[in-house]
Amino acid sequence: MSQAKTLFDKIWESHVVVNEPGSPSVLYIDLHLVHEVTSPQAFSGLRQKGLRVRRPDRTVATMDHGIPTRNLVNSDQLSVNGGQWVIQDAMAAKQLKQLETNCRDFDVPLYGMDSPNRGIVHVIGPELGLTQPGKTIVCGDSHTSTHGAFGALAFGIGTSEVEHVLATQTLLQYRPKTYRVNFAGALPPGVTAKDMILALIAKIGVGGGTGHVFEYTGTAVSQLSMEGRMTLCNMSIEGGGRAGMVAPDDTTFEYIAGREFVPKGAAWEQAIAQWRALPSDEGAAYDKEVTIGVDELEPMITYGTNPGMGMGISTAVPDPAAEADLSKRASLQKALDYMNLPPGKPLLGHPVDVVFVGSCTNSRISDLRQAAALIDGRKVAASTRMLVVPGSEEVRRQAEAEGLHHIFMAAGAEWRSAGCSMCIAMNGDQLQPGQYAVSTSNRNFEGRQGAGGRTFLASPLTAVASAVHGQVTDPRVMMSQ
């Protein structure tokens, strides 16, 4: 009798190269994505040991974390190229240069500064068709979980492991446990994939998924677009999960068909047939399960200093005094002190200095379309600054072809070129001390978006509504106007 297997089981088992007792499994890696921040020391390690990149054809690099988003492409009059990059930060410039050198020396394909395909690594992987169902995908970046939206096993690794994969195309891994997250029901208007994942993390906490791989199932997931599924899987790590996955289906195949690195012709038909066998078998067992009903879900927003400190937008910030667990009470109090927020009051109406629409969580074309549709004909409040940063140059071109940039700029928002930007605040796009931001990114840790900055995580719709009113605003109110 063959045992019913999960999507995770099938991918894991087909990638184990060696399984010796007393040692972790040697797992084969199909695709290794590389960026400038977590790779330099790994390449140095190869040089010191006299090693080569074993499979440059399974390795792809881009530049995203430290790259400026304010070059000369940010308005109508100017064109993309011409060596117009001005990187004022000498260390960032050196790091970007180092990646160019490393890719040249080790024959790794690089979507560099002037590549039309450059962008946030988790946006360009799917865009180029590199991300495919059934693959094992790693990157020195915790949001690698994004690629799980395609039914891949994708997870973030440290720099030592980057070196391991560069040198051997394998990783030492213990088999994680499985965690089924069932999103039941249908999303109400104004509520998005971002709200689903924030609701999950608020429920299970930032360590809730530690040691596990999430599989997101249920009608609300199968009804999501691929971009919504990427948003969902992207923040798996914020729930402590090793990875997040969605079973591939027709929505998946339609999205990837015809993309540059996807098989064509007969090979495509063959691939589809294999991918259709990937979804979890009927009756497959998971180590953990949770169900979240989405019929009544409202837009979510975070109030604290980790992504688990989130709530429905109409509810009130919790009171530390009501928390029985002493260490949780201390954490909550510390968070509210940092955020300078009173307990027991809703965030609705709280002034907002900056709105950031971007990051590997919410910078894809559908995010920008949603944001543009809501802001069209409206203005960003005079007291508020709004940045819109597309996830890739491809997204930027598409948005400009649709005229979305005109809508954003007419509303008074800044339209930038692609990069991680204010999500990680390494490139000069950052909050000033004390400022409040509504951000579509994934982390609200202390100082994440700039020293002393305070972040409310939310969906693009909530971000736009808050930008227009200059204060935290429920987007559903504007959508009915």
């Binding site: 190269v17 199909d30 790091q95 720099t159 990783l171 020293a451």
Partner: protein, 196 residues
């Protein structure tokens, strides 16, 4: 990697849950192309005041805790990003072990690959360690990796988990890459069989 066998040291308390990697080492310090200079960025958001001077209230700046080679922190230590700069910064500063009730997965992996020992203890032991160090900052504990024990000042030895493979690598101070490189024939065979 420097071998880890036993360590007797006082320990520095950081009694917060969910200490994330952005606090351990903020992103502004990640622009390095080597592993140098990260120690000065360790906990910099908490360690320095807005004018750049050390915050005397933060544990790292208290002379009581100077020289501590063990960090004691709350639940889910190291959550957040995959930056290996976090263990590099901790080790650069002089820490060789972190005691907590639990660790985030990627941090744990990264720490083990650098000779920084994650020691997971139960909540009661954690609270005991915290009250001991709050009373007497010079309180020392002993970690014995071979025996997988943490010995408290009262002589009580608490065992902690570590996988056999990482344990061997840490005891001997060997890089895990060596093991992977030895598998290259099997990797070739796998690639051939799987058409990769």
């Amino acid at each position: 990697m420097e071998p880890f066998t036993t360590l007797t040291s006082k320990y520095m308390p950081l009694p917060y849950n969910d200490v994330d990697t952005d606090q351990i080492i903020p992103a502004s310090y990640l622009k390095v192309t080597n592993k140098d200079g990260l120690a000065e960025g360790l906990f910099s958001r908490w360690r320095y005041q807005s004018d750049g001077s050390p915050d005397p209230e933060f544990a790292l700046n208290k002379s009581d805790h100077a020289g501590a080679r063990i960090l004691l922190a709350g639940d889910n230590f190291g959550c957040g990003s995959s930056r290996e700069h976090a263990p590099w910064a901790l080790m650069g500063y002089g820490f060789r072990a972190v005691i907590s009730t639990s660790f985030a997965d990627i941090f744990r992996n990264n720490a083990l690959k650098n000779g920084l020992l994650p020691v997971a203890v139960d909540a009661q032991t954690y609270r005991q360690l915290l009250s001991l160090v709050e009373e007497e900052p010079e309180t020392a504990v002993t970690i014995n990796l071979a025996a997988q024990t943490l010995t408290l000042p009262d002589g009580r030895a608490v065992s902690f988990p570590i996988d056999a493979f990482s344990k061997t690598c840490m005891l001997q101070g060997v890089d895990q890459l060596g093991y992977l490189l030895k598998q290259s024939d099997k990797v070739l065979a796998y690639e051939k069989a799987a058409g990769k």
